[in-house]
């Protein structure tokens, strides 16, 4: 026979285990739902099926002469010198955003050629480049 004390302890421990398992499960689930993949326009061309509900980050260069502004949105083309991607964005634009410069944007794909961004990542100084972009440029120069 188990004593009352041991019983209490066992039930307490099992409750604790179950609770922590639930916590771990939900944490990991939320993690996989909320990670943002970084894709270049070429990566996007290679995707089989576009998931329009999944947020991603895209990056590349803002193509020269592609910027088109009206009072609601900013449209531009992001290129990795192999493939292009049309981007539409409304929101704050960092001052260092301009044609011919690198950009990283967050948002959702509409189809393989069109991306709706809701955030353009700020850069703190002109020399700083997000590591994702740096390796992308390195790859293409080779």
């Amino acid at each position: 026979m188990l004593t009352k004390k041991v019983k209490k302890r066992v039930s307490f421990l099992s409750l604790f285990l179950v609770l922590s398992l639930i916590a771990v499960f939900f944490t990991l689930k939320s993690l996989t739902n909320n990670i943002l993949y970084f894709k270049s326009p070429t990566d996007i061309k290679l995707i089989q099926e576009v998931n329009i509900n999944k947020r991603i980050r895209i990056g590349g260069m803002v193509k020269t002469n592609s910027l088109n502004i009206n009072d609601k949105e900013i449209k531009f083309i992001v290129t990795d010198f192999k493939n292009d991607l049309f981007v539409s964005y409304s929101g704050t634009v960092p001052n260092l955003f301009s044609e011919g410069k690198g950009v990283v944007a967050e948002g959702k794909l509409q189809d393989k050629n069109f991306f709706i961004a809701d955030r353009i990542l700020a850069k703190h100084d002109e020399k700083y480049m997000p590591p994702e972009l740096k390796s992308l440029i390195k790859k293409n120069v080779k």
Partner: protein, 629 residues
């Protein structure tokens, strides 16, 4: 010249560290109860030297001695004096010297303020703290020397990054450093305590003030960082779950868990090894955070420049620290079975610790996850705020309830009483929540719970406060203030989140736009020259159509020449109930200006809540001082 002074002083400090360690070991061998005078003298000398070297570096920045690389890269003759001084710790090398300074000062004060504790324990603490100092001095001298010279001497410096030129950020690093470098002293003390078998209540007494100091400063340090982000980064938020921010939050969680557990250790002589683990973990997390950020392994929007060779040094040092502490821990670890009654204060402290560890693991997971995916399957990911929000916010609701009930439960064993009061407070909180919900604006289910639970904590603390006031006991004021302010913080963040208004517009000069009860007119645009920058200033008229309230805001685009940078300066009208926040940026030299208009309710109350939380810590410190000495 300054470089020679600085380098020789640092070199002498290394020698002093060695001699302190040597004399400490000599002192351990003797049977005397007191610490020899020479150790005190050496410690005074050591602190003096480090202070002088730090002052030397400040002097280098003040007189713009560009023969020092650190000064050349981070300063400029035209910079205001405040930012020249702040430039001292605004770069990697200088901040590392500040790091050594705090290590040394904490080592010195710990030695002289803990007179009543056992000699061996104090000596061992001194030895370990000096090993830490030595490690960082080597790092300073061989890898990141702030006194390195450049020749020929440049005429002009490169200047400090303009967005770092902000009062909040000028004081941010020292405050934060007192927090997480200060945690080094209880790291050393924890190892010393195990080696000298100086455990239990006395150990708790000797470190509790140090934990409080570092925790209170860490809190204020995190706050100044947030305020800076709000004013300077121009998107109106104050917390982005960015790796840099997370790195400052991780030790904070452990410190919070630590000083709650310390109360149990002091009052009931329980949880000794758990406290030791928390002590060690705090400092290890502080160093890990520094490692991840400085080495450039983690990609953060706040990253400026980094250098992998620093990472390797910190990594080696970190591994040595972890190895030593784990080794000592396992050698001394005894598993004691604790018999803790379920409904007692001890349980509630443990619950606090579980929550803190949960937050710690969650934030840590989100922060380091991208490293693993990159190494394992070469996919580049980032973990965004939604992850933290979905995982942490629901848990905070329960946390707030426990936080309200816990402090009132007695030690050892208690019975559930005052159920009526609790239900009354709960009813009242729900009532107020629904009043806000129906009178102003509806919000999501989870926001309802957040607001109810934060009101619950606030009201419980208020009732507690009144009871204490009636009994003329000032014992728990510090705790009540901190707990209540945490409730206020969550409440105001919740309200701020739900009642914010944000609008992005692309405007040309002279245009007017009406939206959601406001109109915004782009009135003027002009250029103005300042001492170290030029500013393009926009004048905007904001009109609240409901109560016909007018307001002019003047956001700026600043053009700095040294270094050549553009920044935008938000125009913020701070009020008791809400802030109006406007930023303007030019879109690639076209006629269009991108304007972000925001109404942010209760911003100032978020800052005040955090100040009050840390005030609680300082008050407790003050009270402890009065009691002990």
């Amino acid at each position: 010249m300054l470089s020679n002074i600085g380098n020789s002083i640092l070199f002498l400090s290394v020698l002093l560290c060695f001699s302190i360690i040597y004399y400490s070991f000599q002192n351990l061998k003797t049977n005397k109860d007191s610490i020899t005078k020479i150790i005190f003298q050496l410690c005074v000398l050591q602190s003096t030297f480090i202070i002088i070297s730090f002052l030397t570096l400040i002097a280098g920045f003040l007189i713009s001695d560009f023969s020092l690389i650190a000064v050349y890269q981070n300063s400029h003759t035209l910079k205001p004096a405040l930012y020249k001084i702040a430039g001292t710790w605004g770069n990697h090398e200088g901040s590392l010297l500040l790091w050594v300074l705090i290590l040394t000062l904490f080592s010195f004060f710990f030695l002289i303020l803990n007179k009543n504790h056992s000699k061996n324990y104090r000596i061992y603490t001194l030895i370990f703290q000096n090993i830490l100092i030595l490690g960082f001095l080597f790092f300073l001298l061989f890898n990141s020397n702030p006194f390195s010279v450049i020749s020929p001497e440049p005429k002009e410096g490169l200047g400090l990054n303009p967005i770092l030129q902000d009062p909040a950020l000028a004081i941010h690093p020292p405050l934060l450093y007192i927090g997480f470098v200060g945690s080094s002293i209880y790291f050393s003390a924890a190892i010393a305590s195990m080696l000298s078998n100086y455990s239990g209540k006395l150990f708790a007494k000797s470190i509790k003030n140090w934990v409080l100091v570092s925790w209170s400063f860490q809190t204020i340090g995190i706050l100044t960082g947030s305020i800076w982000a709000y004013y300077e980064l121009g998107w109106g938020g104050f917390w982005f779950w960015d790796p840099v921010e997370n790195a400052s939050l991780l030790p904070w969680f452990v410190m919070t868990a630590l000083f709650h557990s310390l109360i149990v250790l002091e009052k009931r002589n329980l949880l000794y090894f758990w406290v030791i683990i928390l002590c060690i973990l705090t400092f290890i997390l502080s160093v890990t955070g520094t490692f991840l950020i400085r080495s450039g392994i983690l990609n953060s929007v706040h990253t400026f420049a980094n250098d992998p060779s620093r990472g390797i040094f910190i990594l080696i040092f970190l591994s040595l620290m972890i190895f030593t502490s784990v080794f000592v821990l396992f050698k001394k670890l005894k598993i004691n079975s604790y018999n803790v009654n379920f409904y007692s204060k001890e349980t509630f402290v443990l619950i606090n610790n579980w929550f803190m560890i949960f937050y710690l693991i969650t934030v840590m997971l989100g922060t380091v996850y991208p490293i693993f995916t990159e190494v394992l399957n070469d996919s580049k990911v980032s973990v965004g705020p939604p992850f933290y929000n979905t995982v942490i916010i629901p848990v905070v609701i329960f946390f707030l309830f426990f936080m309200s009930i816990g402090p009132k439960v007695r030690w050892i064993k208690d019975n559930l009483k005052n159920l009526n009061v609790i239900l009354g407070i709960l009813f009242f909180s729900i009532l107020i929540n629904f009043l806000i919900f129906y009178l102003f604006k509806s919000y999501s289910l989870i926001s309802n719970f957040i607001i109810i639970s934060s009101f619950f904590l606030i009201f419980s603390s208020l009732i507690d406060f009144v009871e204490h006031f009636k009994n003329h006991s000032i014992k728990n004021y510090s705790r009540i203030i901190s707990h209540m302010s945490f409730g206020l913080l969550v409440l105001f963040i919740g309200l701020n989140h739900n009642f914010s208004l944000e609008k992005d517009l692309n405007l040309k000069l002279g245009e007017k736009i009406t939206f959601e009860g406001y109109s915004l007119k782009f009135e003027k645009l002009y250029l103005k020259e300042f001492k170290n920058y030029k500013a393009i200033i926009g004048e905007f008229e904001v009109n609240n159509l409901k109560d016909n309230f007018n307001l002019s805001l003047y956001p700026q685009i600043r053009i700095y020449e040294n270094p050549n940078t553009l920044t935008y300066e938000a125009s913020i009208k701070t009020g008791i109930l809400k802030d109006y926040y406007l930023t303007m940026s030019n879109i690639d030299r076209s006629d269009y200006y991108n304007v972000k208009f925001q109404k942010k309710p209760f911003m100032i109350w978020i800052w005040i809540s955090v100040i009050l939380i840390s005030l609680g810590g300082f008050l407790r410190l003050f009270k402890n001082e009065k009691k002990n000495y």
